[in-house]
C-alpha cells in the first residue's frame, strides 16, 4: 500500500505534482522561518552570555542601573581576593561605552574575563573597537575620560559583539571605596538573565522576536492551507474512486497520509536548506545596535526537532480545517449548497475594543498601573480578535453592496463570490490582518516616540548635551565645580550652560508646573536661574522678567520618556526660592552647542571625566541611546514583518485564485465561448483578490495606527506622528510584490478558460 | 413478413426448386417460424399466375417440388421497386427491413443507401408526430409519444445494423 501510495503521489499527473510542490514549499517557508527565528534568539542569548560579566553588581540595585547606585556598601565575605567594582555607561556619538572600574585588594585578585591581569591604577584594557577609536579620535573628545595608558585589549570571548566599546580601568582601592555604588565582588555573573547594562532589553528582544515569529506564522499557515485546497476536489475524487474500487478505509488513509508525508518531508528538507542559505545573511541585520556574528547563529537539536515536527503538525491541523468545505462523497457532489453567512454579532468585539480604547482617551487612564495594563491589553486584544472575527462579515456586506449595484460583469462575479463565501476569501488574508495590525501599532508608537523623544538631527535637542545625575533625595553633588564650568565654556562651539537643581519641597511656584509626562505619583521639580535658562533654549523659556523658574520633573529626571519637542516650546512658571540656588543638589547640567560632533564629544568628555560615576551624559532626550536604537530597529523589524506577511499573503491569494479558477473552469470557458472577453475575467480576478488584499492591508494598518494614536494620547498625552519614508516604501514594495504574484496567475486563467478547450468530457 | 417478395428476391439470385427456396428462407429469414411447404407452393402458384415467375420443365418424379422456378422481367421489376421503397413503420418493420438488407447484401449491393433512405423516412415521420404533439390534445400526445419511441427504437436498431454491415455481408455471401 505504501508503495502504491508513493507511486500515486509522484506519478499522479501535473496537477497533483503542482499541489505537492506548492505544499512542500509552504511547509519549507514555515520551517525556515522558525529555524531563523530560533537561531537568532539563540544568537542573541550567546551574545548576551558573553557580556553577562558586565552585569555583576556588588550590592542590591537601587533605581536605574545606568546611573551607578546609591545603595549601602556591602563588604564581601572573605574569599579569594575580591576586587572593587563599579560599572557605568557613557555615550560617544550615539554609541554606548561601558566603563568598568576595578581595584584589587591583594594578591591573586579576581580577573574579569577577556583580560590577562587586573589593570592597576593608571592602566586600562580597551575593547578592540574602542582602542581604535582612542587612537583615531582627539583626546579632548574621548581619551580624557579615561585616565591612564592602555595595556592591552579585551578578548572577543568577553564581548557580546566585536564592535562593542568596553573599557576596564584600573583604580586604587581607596578611590573606589569612596564612590557610592561601588563595592567588592568575588565572582562574575554568567547567566544570560539580564546580562550587561547594554542588554537589559535582550530578554525583551527575545520575547519580541518570538512573538513576531508567531505573528508571521499565521500567514504561513494560511499559505499552507491554501496550497492544500489546490486540486483538493480532484484528490478527493480520486481517493473516493479508489475506495469505490474496494480499498478499505485504512488503505485509503495510508495513501492519503503518504502524500501528506512526502510533501511534509520534502518541505522540511527544503526548509533546512533555505535556513542554511539565509542564515549567513542575517549578520547584516542589526539587532539592538549590533549585528550577530554567524558563529552565534545556531540551532540546537531540540530546536531542529521542534521545527521539523512542529510545522508539519501545524500543517496537518490546518489541513483538517482547510478541507472542510471540499467534501466530496464517493458518488460526487451534484448540487452546490451556499454556506452559512457570517452573523452580524461578529462585529461586536471590534466595536467594543475601539470604544474601550476611546473611553480611555476621553476619561483618562485608570489610576493604577495594573489597571492600565489590564485596560490596554484588553483593548488591544479585543481590537485584534475583533478584526479577525468581523472580517468575514465586513467582506460580505461590502461585497453584497458592490454586487447589487454594479453593471459590470467582473464586479458582479467578484462581488457575488466574495459575499457567498466570505470566509473562504477572508481566510487567505486573515493572516495578514494580525501581522499588519500588530506591526502598525508598533511602528506608530515607535515612530512617535522616536520623533518626539529622540533627538532628531537638526533640532535644538540634538545640539544640547545633558548630564543627568542620579535621582533621589540623597543626591550628594551639591554644586558644579567652577573648574568644570570654565572648561566647558572654553570649548569652542559651546553656546550656553544651565544647571538644574533639585527644587526644595517648600518652593513657591506661581501656578502649576506642566508635566509633560505624568508617570503617576509625585515627583520633585527642578529649579533654574532664568539667566542661565535663556542660553539653553532646548529646555524651554522663562516668563519675562522672572529670575527663577520651576522645570517639570520629567525634564529634570526622566530623559527617555520626555517629549523634547514639547519641552522646547514650554514656558515654565516662575519660582521663588527663598535662599537662592546655593546649597541645592544638582540634578542636571545642560550645555547648548553649535551641534558639531567634535564640540559635543569635547563637552561629553569634560563632563564624563568630571563625574564619571555619578551621572550620565547624552544628547538631550537621548540619554538611553541604546533604547532609541533598539526602538528604531524594532521598527525596522516590524516593517520587515509587514513585507514578509504581504508577500506570503500574495502567495496564498495566488494559490487560492488558481484553485478557484480551476473550480469554475467550465462556466468561465463557456462564458468566453459565448462572447465574453478575457478582460472581464481578468478584472474579476483583480477585484476578487487584489481588492480584499488592499482593503484589508490598508484597513488593518489604519486600525493599527488609530489604536496606537489612542494609546499614545492616553498613555503619553501625545498624538500620533506619521511613520517615515521607509515604512511607505516597504509597505508599497510588499503590496506590489503581492499583486505581482496574483498577476502571475492571469496566464493560467487564460489557458484554463480558452474557448477551444471547452470540449465535452 | 412479405413472403412473396422474399421468394422473388431469392429467385432473382438464381432459379430454384420450391424445396431449395423453403430451405433458404428458413435459414435466412425464418429462424423461429419455418415456412410451411404449403405456403411456399401456394405463393409460387400465385406469383406464377400473376406472371412474376415461370415454372420450368418438370423433372422426373412428379409433384410441385420437382419444378424449378425462375423470375420473369415483370417479377424482377416489381422486386426492385419493392426493394427500393422505404417500409411503412408498421409493427413488422424490422423483419421486412432486415430481409431487404440481407437481400441487398446477397445481391452484392450497398445496403447503406437503403438504411439512409429508411432513416430519412423515419425522421420525417417523427417530425410529423412531433408537430402533432405540439398542437394536439393529451391523447394525441400520448399516442404520438408511443409512436416516437418506437421509431426511435427502430433508428437505434438501424444504427446497430449499419455498424454490423461488414460482418453481415461476409456471413451472407459465404
Amino acid at each position: 500500500m505504501i508503495r502504491f501510495g508513493l507511486r500515486l503521489t509522484t506519478r499522479g499527473g501535473k496537477e497533483s505534482m503542482t499541489r505537492l510542490v506548492v505544499m512542500a514549499l509552504a511547509v519549507s517557508v514555515g520551517v525556515a522561518m522558525l529555524l531563523l527565528t530560533m537561531a537568532t534568539i539563540n544568537g542573541l542569548g550567546r551574545q548576551n552570555a558573553r557580556g553577562a560579566w558586565m552585569a555583576t553588581t556588588p550590592s542590591v540595585e537601587v533605581g536605574n542601573p545606568h546611573f551607578g547606585h546609591r545603595g549601602p556598601q556591602v563588604t564581601a565575605p572573605a574569599a579569594s581576593a575580591p576586587i572593587w567594582w563599579i560599572v557605568s555607561s557613557q555615550d560617544f556619538e550615539g554609541q554606548l561605552v561601558v566603563r568598568v572600574d576595578v581595584a584589587s585588594t591583594g594578591h591573586n585578585a579576581l580577573v574579569p574575563p577577556g583580560i590577562a591581569h587586573l589593570p592597576g591604577p593608571g592602566q586600562y584594557y580597551a575593547s578592540p573597537a574602542l582602542a581604535t577609536l582612542l587612537n583615531t579620535t582627539p583626546t579632548a573628545q574621548l581619551g580624557n575620560r579615561f585616565a591612564g595608558t592602555e595595556i592591552g585589549t579585551i578578548g572577543s570571548a568577553a564581548l557580546p559583539s566585536p564592535k562593542d566599546l568596553v573599557i576596564v580601568v584600573g583604580q586604587r582601592a581607596k578611590t573606589l571605596s569612596k564612590i557610592a555604588g561601588a563595592g567588592t565582588i568575588t565572582s562574575f555573573v554568567t547567566s544570560s538573565g539580564s546580562g550587561g547594562p547594554d542588554s537589559s532589553g535582550t530578554t525583551g528582544l527575545q520575547i519580541i522576536l518570538a512573538v513576531l515569529a508567531l505573528v508571521l506564522l499565521f500567514p504561513v499557515l494560511v499559505f499552507i492551507g491554501a496550497s492544500m485546497r489546490l486540486s483538493a476536489a480532484r484528490r478527493e475524487q480520486r481517493l473516493a474512486a479508489i475506495r469505490l474500487a474496494g480499498a478499505t478505509m485504512r488503505q485509503v488513509t495510508v495513501i492519503a497520509t503518504v502524500e501528506a508525508l512526502v510533501a511534509a518531508i520534502a518541505g522540511v528538507v527544503i526548509g533546512f536548506g533555505l535556513y542554511l542559505a539565509a542564515a549567513p545573511l542575517l549578520v547584516h541585520v542589526p539587532f539592538a545596535g549590533q549585528s550577530l556574528e554567524s558563529g552565534d547563529l545556531s540551532i540546537g537539536w531540540i530546536d531542529a526537532i521542534i521545527a521539523a515536527i512542529g510545522v508539519p503538525c501545524a500543517a496537518a491541523v490546518v489541513g483538517r480545517f482547510a478541507l472542510e468545505r471540499v467534501h466530496v462523497s464517493p458518488l460526487g457532489v451534484s448540487r452546490r449548497v451556499t454556506p452559512q453567512p457570517p452573523r452580524v454579532y461578529r462585529v461586536i468585539p471590534l466595536l467594543a475594543g475601539i470604544v474601550e480604547l476611546a473611553y480611555f482617551v476621553s476619561a483618562g487612564r485608570p489610576g493604577s498601573s495594573g489597571g492600565q495594563i489590564e485596560g490596554y491589553v484588553l483593548g488591544f486584544f479585543l481590537v485584534m480578535i475583533g478584526l479577525v472575527l468581523a472580517g468575514p462579515w465586513l467582506t460580505m456586506q461590502g461585497a453584497k453592496i458592490m454586487a447589487r449595484r454594479t453593471s459590470r460583469v467582473s464586479v458582479l462575479l467578484a462581488g457575488r463570490r466574495l459575499s457567498d463565501n466570505p470566509r473562504g476569501a477572508f481566510r487567505a488574508v486573515s493572516g495578514l490582518i494580525l501581522a499588519i495590525f500588530v506591526t502598525s501599532v508598533s511602528v506608530g508608537v515607535i515612530s512617535t516616540i522616536i520623533t518626539d523623544h529622540g533627538a532628531a538631527s537638526g533640532t535644538l535637542a540634538s545640539k544640547t548635551v545633558t548630564d543627568q545625575f542620579a535621582f533621589g533625595p540623597a543626591n550628594s553633588v551639591p554644586a558644579v565645580p567652577s573648574s568644570v564650568l570654565s572648561s566647558l565654556r572654553s570649548i569652542r562651539g559651546v553656546r550656553g550652560i544651565t544647571v538644574v537643581y533639585v527644587a526644595p519641597n517648600d518652593l513657591k511656584i506661581d501656578g502649576a508646573v506642566p508635566h509633560i509626562n505624568n508617570l503617576g505619583g509625585d515627583l520633585q521639580y527642578g529649579v533654574v536661574s532664568c539667566a542661565h535658562l535663556v542660553t539653553t533654549p532646548a529646555l524651554g523659556t522663562c516668563h519675562a522678567g522672572a529670575d527663577f523658574a520651576a522645570l517639570g520633573d520629567d525634564i529634570a529626571f526622566e530623559p527617555i520618556t520626555k517629549s523634547v519637542t514639547i519641552a522646547a516650546s514650554t514656558t515654565w512658571p516662575t519660582a521663588h526660592p527663598t535662599a537662592g540656588l546655593s546649597g541645592l543638589p544638582v540634578q542636571l547640567i545642560a550645555v547648548a552647542t553649535n551641534g558639531s560632533v567634535s564640540t559635543i564629544n569635547d563637552v561629553e568628555t569634560v563632563l564624563d571625566s568630571a563625574f564619571p560615576f555619578e551621572s550620565m551624559t547624552s544628547l538631550f532626550g537621548n540619554a538611553n541611546a541604546k533604547a532609541s536604537q533598539l526602538l528604531s530597529e524594532l521598527r525596522t523589524t516590524s516593517e520587515v514583518v509587514i513585507l514578509a506577511s504581504l508577500l506570503i499573503a500574495g502567495c496564498s491569494l495566488a494559490v487560492a485564485m488558481a484553485a478557484g479558477v480551476s473550480e469554475r473552469r467550465r462556466p468561465f470557458s463557456l462564458m468566453r465561448l459565448s462572447g465574453a472577453p478575457l478582460s472581464v475575467l481578468q478584472r474579476m480576478v483583480a477585484f476578487e483578490t487584489a481588492g480584499p488584499l488592499l482593503v484589508i492591508a490598508v484597513g488593518s494598518a489604519l486600525t493599527g495606527f488609530v489604536t496606537s494614536d489612542l494609546f499614545l494620547r492616553s498613555q503619553l498625552g501625545e498624538t500620533l506622528r506619521p511613520p517615515g519614508l521607509a515604512y511607505y516604501l516597504i509597505v508599497g514594495g510588499g503590496l506590489f510584490g503581492a499583486l505581482a504574484m496574483i498577476g502571475s496567475t492571469l496566464p493560467l486563467l487564460d489557458r484554463a478558460t480558452r474557448p477551444e478547450g471547452a470540449r465535452m468530457e | 413478413m412479405s413472403v412473396p417478395f422474399t421468394l422473388l428476391g431469392l429467385l432473382e439470385r438464381e432459379p430454384s426448386h420450391g424445396y431449395d427456396l423453403k430451405r433458404d428462407y428458413d435459414s435466412y429469414f425464418g429462424r423461429s417460424k419455418p415456412l410451411p411447404f404449403g405456403q411456399v407452393y401456394a405463393t409460387l402458384a400465385r406469383l406464377s399466375r400473376d406472371g412474376k415467375v415461370v415454372p420450368g420443365e418438370a423433372e422426373p418424379g412428379d409433384g410441385p417440388d420437382r419444378k424449378r422456378y425462375a423470375i420473369t422481367p415483370e417479377g424482377r421489376e416489381e422486386f426492385e421497386t419493392w426493394l427500393g421503397e422505404p417500409v411503412e413503420p408498421e409493427p413488422h418493420l424490422q423483419t421486412i427491413l432486415f430481409s431487404k438488407v440481407v437481400l441487398a447484401l446477397m445481391l452484392g449491393r450497398s445496403a447503406e443507401k437503403y438504411l439512409d433512405t429508411q432513416r430519412a423516412a423515419h425522421l420525417q415521420r417523427m417530425r410529423s408526430l412531433t408537430e402533432v404533439k405540439r398542437a394536439g390534445s393529451l391523447i394525441d400526445v400520448l399516442l404520438a409519444d408511443h409512436g416516437l419511441f418506437h421509431l426511435e427504437a427502430d433508428l437505434r436498431w438501424i444504427d446497430m445494423t449499419a455498424a454490423r454491415l461488414p460482418s453481415l455481408a461476409a456471413a451472407v455471401t459465404s
Binding site: 463570490r417 457567498d420 467550465r666 463557456l670 465535452m760 | 422505404p86 443507401k113 433512405t117 405540439r134 444504427d159
Partner: protein, 240 residues
C-alpha cells in the same frame, strides 16, 4: 409515396450562414474534411451524427469559436473565419446565442443575473438588463426562480435558464449543443418545446447539434456529419 408540401417550403428565404468546404483537425485527428452546409434564415437545422463525428466541431466553426484550417464560413455573405479573435468574440456576443449541455451557469449568480449576463456584457445598465431577463422567466415557465442561486436549480430548471440566457439578447442564430443531453425524456421534451416555440415566435435561426432522433424531430430538417463530411440522408450525396 408523395411528399406533402408545407407552406414554409414555398416561401423563399435567404441563406443566413454557411460552411463551405470546411476542414479542421485536432493535431493528427481530422474532425472535418470538407464540410458544406447552408442554413436559411429562420430555419431550425438538426446536425446529427454519432459521438466523435465532428458535429460539435462544425458548430464551433460556424459560430466563430474555431477558425477552420481550410474553407470558409460566411454569415450573410461575409466571411467570419478571417476575423480576429476579438471581432469574432464580439460577433458571438452580439449576434449569436448559445445553449450547452450543462455547466454554463455561474453557480454563485442568481438565475436572473445569469440570464442578464449577455446584456451586461454588451454594456446595458444593470436594472434594464434584469428587467429584460425577468421577461423570460414567465415565458419559459420558471417564474419565481429569478432570485434563486443557479447552483441550487434542478437540471431542467437550469437548462431553461440557460435557454433564456441564449435568447435574451435576441440573437440572429441560436447554437444549441446537446441542450437536453443531461435531462430525462420528459424534461428534455419540455425544454425542446420551449426552445422551438421561442425560436419560431421570434424568427430565430437555430443550429441544433444532437445525436438523439427525438430531439432532432423538433427541427425542420436534419443533416448528418459522417467521416468528416456533411451528408443529407435523402439523396446520399454531399449536399448543402
Amino acid at each position: 409515396m408523395s411528399v406533402e408540401l408545407v407552406a414554409s417550403d414555398v416561401r423563399p428565404t435567404a441563406t443566413l450562414i454557411q460552411a463551405i468546404d470546411v476542414a479542421y483537425d485536432f493535431g493528427e485527428t481530422p474532425a472535418l474534411r470538407g464540410a458544406n452546409v447552408s442554413i436559411r434564415e429562420g430555419e431550425i437545422l438538426a446536425v446529427m451524427g454519432p459521438s466523435g463525428s465532428g458535429k460539435s466541431t462544425l458548430l464551433h466553426c460556424l459560430a466563430g469559436i474555431l477558425v477552420p484550417k481550410r474553407g470558409e464560413i460566411r454569415l450573410s455573405g461575409q466571411r467570419i473565419d478571417t476575423m480576429s479573435e476579438d471581432e469574432r468574440s464580439t460577433l458571438r456576443r452580439d449576434t449569436f446565442g448559445f445553449v450547452f449541455q450543462f455547466g454554463q451557469l455561474v453557480p454563485e449568480l442568481t438565475a436572473e443575473e445569469n440570464v442578464a449576463l449577455p446584456l451586461l456584457l454588451s454594456g446595458m445598465r444593470r436594472n434594464d438588463a434584469i428587467v429584460h431577463a425577468r421577461e423570460w422567466f414567465e415565458r419559459l415557465g420558471i417564474g419565481g426562480l429569478e432570485r434563486r442561486r443557479s447552483g441550487e436549480l434542478s437540471g431542467g430548471q437550469a437548462q431553461r435558464v440557460a435557454l433564456a440566457r441564449g435568447l435574451v439578447a435576441r440573437p440572429k442564430i441560436l447554437f444549441a449543443d446537446e441542450p437536453t443531453g443531461s435531462l430525462d425524456s420528459f424534461t428534455g421534451e419540455v425544454v425542446m418545446e420551449l426552445l422551438v416555440t421561442a425560436a419560431r415566435d421570434d424568427g430565430t435561426t437555430v443550429v441544433l447539434v444532437t445525436h438523439e432522433p427525438r430531439v432532432a424531430a423538433y427541427a425542420d430538417r436534419e443533416v448528418v456529419v459522417r467521416d468528416g463530411l456533411v451528408t443529407s440522408l435523402n439523396d446520399h450525396a454531399t449536399s448543402t
